[in-house]
């Protein structure tokens, strides 16, 4: 293997690039922004691993079972086994490159309890695990940049993949500095572009993760999977600019959820699920908060000030700054918000898509989390998926022939010029806002045939408008050309939700509240001539 392009420079993209470079592959690490701006820096809670010095009773098989159970047995058993078995090695790798883990008395990564896990197995770095991992990976990538193996290309926005006869040969990028689209040819493309936040507007995540790459690739023939499974984080706070996450660590450290009834506190999670009720999986906690129909609060004020200071400093600062609440004295008003996408690009166990030499890693790929993700498994999957993809790619042959895609780049630039020439100031962001309003209504915590069909009608309308829209030439061309891809992804997600006529994990249908054996398989969706075709992967073709 001679060279590769990795699109996206968060944790999964960087791990892929680093591991490829270490195997001697030349990597173009392309992203609009530096890694410090990626959503990975926001991951707060931690990273799971059953280490050789595990809590009594814990085992790798218990981590596997918790992950499969949390995902309602929709994730591939083999893939999850690989994920959990590699966890200790991953922690050792991260420790080795200098990640500043919170440590125990022996100086090794300390562990905390996180929702959905039977044992205390989540390693962490204060309340900023993602940021600390990013900082160490940036240094590792820097080492390989200095060695000439990784080349960072900033200001590059993905446009489309170069695909011919089911094989990927590179990608088109819009270059912010030059204002045009150009082709980059390569042996392998790895997509590491994160979740699909833009579909839902204000979420807990980054504004940069818009799902466009998945939507565009879908239109180019790449299959997507499990799009109906959208995780709502139960504890977020409302601010003027976005929803902000109160880390699961707050409940891990003993935080209690309650609402007020006739002047009395009702600890509804503990009443219904016992002493560990506050640490139930995110879908259950989110639905319980939603169903309570009252203002819900999270209380950590009974913790010692020194514990809040040492274990939850970021939560303390966040609440003080954005909502003026001192968590050592007052409870935090919380509500669920879109947080993570279990669905995404369908990949095989080696993280290759249905297009040869096109891979996907991290949150944009759907693999380990089934119908719901456990806290601490996303950072683990981000690192693991990058390692798996890199291992597979490094062993591949260099491409002998590369078809000429110059006409694709010319056509893309012609379309771009046409957009730039329009005089309209109609903001594409308005359509994105309307679409996200639709998605929140149609694909919220509780869905129904009716809400989903309303959503499909709306999104189909926006798609028809998008095709005829005069574009806004005072924003980056990327925002204009990405609209159709984002709307198409929204439409695909609605189709998946419509097809799954049952409730499972994060997908709850009020008209089909039971979990049914008939649907015990991943949803796979493809796009053919404008048609959205959904099937259930009962043969486990993506488990191989």
């Amino acid at each position: 293997m001679r060279d590769a392009i990795v699109i996206g420079s968060g944790i999964s993209g960087m791990v892929t690039a680093i591991k490829l470079a270490e195997a001697g592959v030349h990597v173009l690490l392309a992203s609009p922004f530096p890694s410090e701006r990626s959503q990975s820096v926001m991951a707060a809670g931690g990273i799971n691993a059953v280490m050789s010095r595990h809590e009594e009773g814990d085992s790798v098989s218990a981590h596997i079972e918790d992950t499969l159970k949390g995902g309602c047995y929709l994730a591939g058993e083999e893939a999850v086994k690989g994920l959990c078995e590699s966890a200790e090695e991953i922690i050792e790798y991260l420790e080795g490159i200098g990640v500043v883990f919170s440590v125990d008395e022996a100086g090794r990564p300390a562990r905390r309890a996180v929702g959905g896990h039977s044992y205390r197995r989540t390693c962490y770095c204060g309340s900023s695990t993602g940021k600390q991992i990013v900082s160490a990976l940036v240094m590792e990538a820097r080492r390989l940049e200095a060695a000439g193996l990784i080349k960072r290309a900033l200001g590059k926005c993905f446009h489309s993949a170069l695909i011919k006869d089911g094989v990927c040969y590179g990608a088109l990028f819009f270059d912010e500095a030059f204002g045009n689209i150009s082709a980059e040819y390569t042996d392998v493309v790895v997509v590491a572009t994160g979740g699909q936040n833009a579909l839902f507007g204000k979420t807990t995540g980054s504004t940069q993760c818009d799902g466009y790459t998945a939507g565009e690739l879908f239109m180019q023939g790449v299959e997507l999977k499990n799009l109906e499974f959208v995780q709502f984080h139960p504890t977020t706070i409302e601010t003027s600019q976005k929803r902000m996450l109160v880390s699961e660590a707050a409940r891990g450290e003993g935080g209690r959820l309650f609402y007020m009834d006739n002047g009395e506190r009702v600890y509804f999670m503990e009443e219904k699920y016992g002493p560990k009720g506050n640490l139930m999986p995110r879908d259950i906690v989110s639905r319980e908060i939603y169903s309570a129909g009252k203002d819900v609060f999270l209380d950590v004020s009974f913790l010692k000030d020194s514990d809040i200071e040492s274990r939850l400093p970021e939560v303390r600062d966040l609440c003080k700054k954005y909502i003026g609440i001192d968590i050592a004295k007052e409870p935090i008003p919380v509500a669920p918000s879109v947080h993570f996408f279990m669905g995404g690009i369908a990949v095989h166990k080696n993280h290759e898509t249905n297009i040869r030499d096109l891979f996907a890693v991290g949150e944009c790929a759907s693999m380990y989390h089934g119908a719901n993700r456990l806290g601490g498994n996303s950072l683990l999957a981000a690192v693991h998926s990058g390692m798996i993809a890199a291992r597979e790619i490094a062993g591949r042959d260099t491409k002998e022939d590369r078809p000429d895609f110059s006409s694709a780049a010319e056509e893309a630039n012609r379309m771009l010029d046409k957009m730039k020439d329009t005089k309209s100031v109609f903001p594409v962001m308005y359509i994105r806002d309307m679409a996200s309003e639709t998605m929140n209504k149609s694909m919220g915590i509780i869905r129904s045939e009716e809400s989903i069909n309303e959503g499909i009608k709306d999104i189909d309308y926006y798609l028809s408008v998008a095709e005829r829209l005069s574009y806004d030439n005072s924003v980056l061309p990327y925002f204009n050309y990405s609209l159709t891809g984002i709307l198409t992804l929204a439409r695909a997600a609605l189709s998946c939700a419509e097809s799954r006529k049952e409730s499972r994990g994060a997908h709850y249908r009020s008209d089909h509240p039971d979990t049914l054996d008939d649907y015990a398989a991943a949803t796979v969706i493809s796009y053919e001539n404008g048609q959205y075709k959904v099937r259930f992967d009962k043969e486990n073709e993506y488990e191989s």
């Binding site: 959503q39 926001m42 200098g98 770095c125 600390q132 820097r142 504004t207 980056l476």
Partner: protein, 229 residues
């Protein structure tokens, strides 16, 4: 309130001030204010003249990524982390001036990364100092955690009286990464201290303004104390 924004259409065009009227609550952040100006209605200046949308960048919108660094009322700050309630009735916003402007409030901060890359500032392999004193070890660990939170936002460079354009003096962002490398890999200590001296220690006039504006409250003075030893 009046909002004055220093605009610049392209990297090569002349900058100019444009004034907008805005009516937002005090709890709105400057990021929220920019979104309001761009999208609450057609964008017009204070005289009602149609203008172009204001270019700026954001990602996390909660002070964790450093995208939205700019100069607000003459102080380098993060837009998502600065609230209208603290800014009075006239707000001025301009791009960071120590970096080339790409468009409006967007700047090219790649020199930060280039300097760290050119000087080989990376840990490579975690080899901690053996500190027997537990309290001292904990303090050091906290310092490393704080240093690794650096956003590479460039605010410390914008405010620094010694930093010009990153040709030879690399500023606090460099010093803190140097500290992190030297404290996490004892084998690199000597090499890193030398680089630190050349590109920071020998020039820094210790105004410590970098610490005043750091959104992560990184104790740069403690990094300096360690590297000056």
């Amino acid at each position: 309130m009046k909002v004055r924004i220093l605009r610049q259409q392209t990297p090569f065009s002349e900058p100019y001030w444009e004034v907008f009227d805005a009516d937002v609550s005090g709890d709105t952040s400057v990021a929220g204010l920019l979104n309001y100006l761009n999208y609450h209605d057609d964008i017009v200046d204070e005289n009602g003249r149609q203008t172009t949308r204001i270019g700026w960048e954001c990602s996390c919108l909660q002070g964790m990524c450093g995208s939205c660094a700019m100069v607000i009322n003459d102080v380098p700050r993060l837009a998502c982390d600065t609230f209208v309630r603290d800014l009075g009735n006239e707000i001025s916003i301009r791009p960071l001036q120590k970096f080339p402007v790409i468009h409006d409030l967007l700047t090219d901060r790649s020199s930060i990364y280039e300097n760290l890359k050119k000087q080989n500032v990376y840990i490579e392999k975690y080899q901690p100092d053996t500190i027997k004193n537990r309290k001292k070890a904990e303090k050091e660990h906290q310092h490393q955690y704080d240093a690794a939170k650096c956003l590479k936002c460039g605010l410390c460079l914008e405010v620094c009286p010694n930093y010009v354009n990153g040709q030879s003096f690399f500023g606090a962002v460099f010093a803190n990464d140097c500290y992190l490398v030297s404290s996490r890999n004892s084998e690199k200590k000597a090499e890193i201290k030398k680089l630190y001296g050349e590109h920071f220690g020998s020039t820094c006039s210790k105004s410590l303004s970098c610490m005043d504006v750091c959104p992560m409250n990184i104790p740069t003075i403690a990094s300096m104390a360690k590297l000056n030893k």
